[in-house]
Amino acid sequence: MDTQNTPDLNLDPALSGKLNATQIRTNFVEMAEPLTANQAHIEADRCYFCYDAPCTIACPTDINIPEFIRRIKTGNTSGSAEKILEQNIMGAMCSRVCPTEELCEQACVRNDHEEMPVKIGLLQRFATEKAVNENIQYFKRGQETGKRIAVIGAGPAGLSCAHGLAREGHQVTILEKRPKAGGLNEYGIAAYKALNEIAQKEVAYILEIGGIEIQHGVTLGEDITLAKLEEDFDAVFIGVGLGDVNSLRVENESAVGVSDAVRYIEALRQSEDPSLLPVAEHVVVIGGGMTAVDIAVQSRKLGAEKVSLVYRREQSQMGASEHEQEYAQINGVTILDSLSPQSLLLDEGAVTGVRFQHTQTDADGKLSLLDAYTDIPADIVFKAIGQKLLTNDLSGASEEIEMQYGKIKVDADRRTSVSKLWAGGDCVAGGNDLTVSAVQDGKVAAQSINAFLKQSH
């Protein structure tokens, strides 16, 4: 039987899929149903059209939310899409992946009223769906300036930056190491959030403006250096994301059965037939953010019987939002907190379980280990404890790039310490690892690069 249990997943070769294609299809139905036109009008009616709206203030890309909702209400859906996309060119994808319950919808004044915020995310999706599906363009490429910019990484930060620069008439070359563009939108976001090839449709939509070319199979540090790009181009934007994962720091971490959650999620997203992916009966996910929730939920949807999501601090401190945690629990994931991985239990080199040490978090947030242990059986242990930057890529710049907390340090214009280098997205220090923030970084960097290029002739 054909299998997708590839060596890079580091799983027992004997593992195979548990469900058939029909069951998979049923399980992977979308997390959120889109609104019908009637529902959209009813929901849009609930917006109070606030002054200096709290929702807009909460939006990392500054979308004029009351106005776009108003335009849905008045039957001007096309104008609504433009209002969104002019501030966030990836408004369609963001409407599906943004943790609105922590951003705009949390700020909505109707929370105070009756604890029922306006469904801003779904309304944004309603408005942008048609534009992206039917390729209705709102922005034109500016007059050719003759300036050329290199963008490293075709993820949200890079694509957003490229589009902003193309609008100003510059020529952009995106260097992407993977065969497809989209970054985590294509390779990372849970399948149940990004169905029907929306990530690729959005990439095509963004490229339609012209002036942007993508070169695939180009890896920074291997095929090209930053110094060379600084020479050949008028400016460079770094949007490489986080290419590495944090380690558990336990012995035998590379034992069979210990798998990188990000890599598995990628395999699932790229799979033509998910029923062939390796699935186990007992799955332990170590971590507490969106990735941990995504891999835990998707394991259940693929047929894993018992999935535990184990977090080393208290549940209230988890990076995943309450909404996400709820979604995990509804899908049969058991969330366990205050447990830190102490060691792996092995049998002939393959993992059979994890020994966790109990922890305690005091009022100041300080974590201490207690003298108590719990063993949880596991055929697969997914590492989902955060990603980190592959710093050796960045060593080839003309000067050393200033870093902060292991990521690239940038100013308010997203400019690095090196004069021709800008950066944005997950690889930048001080961010919150959200797609929408990456889009904002790209947009701001494009404006800054454009101003810089206009000065230098």
């Binding site: 009637n38 059209f49 106005e67 335009r71 008045t74 039957g75 104008g79």
Partner: protein, 433 residues
């Protein structure tokens, strides 16, 4: 995107959206904000002779709300400008200098004697404003002194004041009509006879909002009493549309450009007015309820609409719906519509049934084969459109026309292809022979 540049009476403005003379256009501060937001023009709050009027220090406004708190009707007892004339003139002058590409119209209200007009009109025109609008509309306060609606209800007064304004000015003169009248064509004709360059309508409608249920006084009051006010906002649009259409379709008045006023809130409302004969629109209530930035959707929505219709300018839209307006007696009585309910969209609320059963023709079921189900009974349906009007789900119930030759189950006769109306109907004692 379609170009919305407007050239109403030779006065250029970047779009056909003006603010009507009212609190939003009271002071330079307000008008500056309006122009910053993108409005094409303003009609300054009405000025009169010194000494100026005073307003109450209590409620001037009240609203009527629909579901979810939306203000659909609005009442006001605000008077004309309560600032000295010179203050207004100085600000108008400054404004025109600061915003040369926007339209600034002075709204005026003076008593019925020529000297007053002769003195003030040139003074006001000297500020550089683009035109005048004569206020014949205030239904409260000013009308008690024989001005405002009191003049607007007497065609002869309208004609005289219009003549005087035209005599002492060189810029266009718009006559603003009150709807508190039996037949709008009379004052409209008076405006034509007086030499008006255009009419604007409607001003506000005499109204009292409601009663205070605790005190059992009218609402609102200042102290123990209140006065009737002028009704405006979304609720009055249909009244305004009818009057605009009447003027637009009557040969004697149809040559006169119309500025449409009355409940314009979003771009569709503007389309209503323009299609029924207005060349531009004025907004007040919606700006007061939501703020000046509603102009965004007005401009964007209208522009996209024109694109969709293949029109490249607002002028192409003006009056296109006027030929469709006729007298009731000319309506084709042989045309037959029936309601159709889309069962996939129906949410089984039953509102169509009870409306039809209680108050119309008993043409909608509530049960079919023992189950709750709402279907049209064609044999009873007269196509009155009540069910469509009350159904909460968009496009769940639609009216479908029967083709000539098709059987009308209600009359048991095939639909005729011929036009036949009341003018020739046997029941009509005045029928044409």
């Amino acid at each position: 995107m379609a170009d919305l540049t407007s050239n109403f009476l030779g006065i250029s403005s970047p779009n056909p959206f003006w603010l009507a003379s009212a609190p939003p256009t009271d002071k330079l501060y307000n008008v500056n904000r309006a122009f910053e937001a993108g409005w094409g023009g303003v009609v300054w709050k009405t000025v009169g002779e010194d000494p100026c009027v005073v307003n109450v220090n209590g409620p001037r406004y009240a609203g009527m709300r629909s579901n979810d708190g939306r203000v659909v009707g609005f009442n006001n007892i605000e008077l004309i400008s309560d600032r000295p004339l010179q203050t207004n003139l100085d600000e108008m002058r400054q404004c025109k200098l600061d915003w040369p590409d926007r339209a600034i119209i002075a709204s005026v209200m003076f008593p019925l004697n020529e000297e007053t007009w002769a003195k003030h009109i040139p003074l006001i025109e000297a500020t550089g404003i683009d035109g005048f609008e004569i206020n014949f509309g205030c239904p409260h306060g000013m009308s008690e002194r024989g001005m405002g609606a009191a003049m607007g209800q007497v065609p002869e007064y309208i004609q005289r004041a219009t003549e005087w304004c035209k005599k002492y000015s060189t810029v266009p003169v718009i006559v603003k009509l009150t709807p508190n009248i039996t037949n709008i064509l009379h004052p409209a004709q008076a405006a034509v006879d007086g030499g008006a360059d255009a009419v604007s309508l409607i001003n506000t409608i005499n109204s009292i909002m409601r009663v205070d249920y605790d005190n059992l006084t009218m609402y609102p009051t200042t102290g123990a009493q209140g006065s009737h006010g002028g009704y405006c906002g979304e609720a009055v649009k249909p009244i305004a549309l009818n009057m605009v259409a009447e003027i637009a379709r009557t040969p004697a008045t149809s040559k006169m450009p119309i500025s449409g006023i009355g409940g314009v809130t979003d771009w569709k409302d503007a389309v209503d007015f323009l299609a029924l004969g207005a060349s531009n629109v004025q907004v007040c209530t919606a700006a007061m309820v939501y703020g000046f930035h509603i102009v965004d959707d007005l401009i964007d929505g209208l522009s996209r609409f024109l694109d969709e219709k293949g029109m490249s300018s607002v002028d192409e839209l003006v009056g296109v719906a006027v030929p469709s307006v006729t007298d009731w007696q000319n309506l084709n009585l042989n045309h037959v519509d029936k309601a159709v309910i889309d069962q996939d969209k129906c949410i089984s609320c039953g509102r169509c049934h009870i409306a039809c059963e209680d108050t119309s023709h008993q043409a909608i079921t509530n049960m079919v084969d023992g189950f709750r189900k709402f279907e049209i009974i064609e044999e009873e349906c007269v196509g009155c459109n009540l069910c469509v009007t009350v159904c909460p789900v968009e496009e769940c119930i639609t009216m479908v026309s029967k083709a000539p030759g098709e059987m009308d189950l209600r009359t048991q006769r095939p639909v005729s292809a011929e036009h036949a109306d009341w003018t020739t109907h046997p029941n009509n004692p005045l029928r044409a022979s």
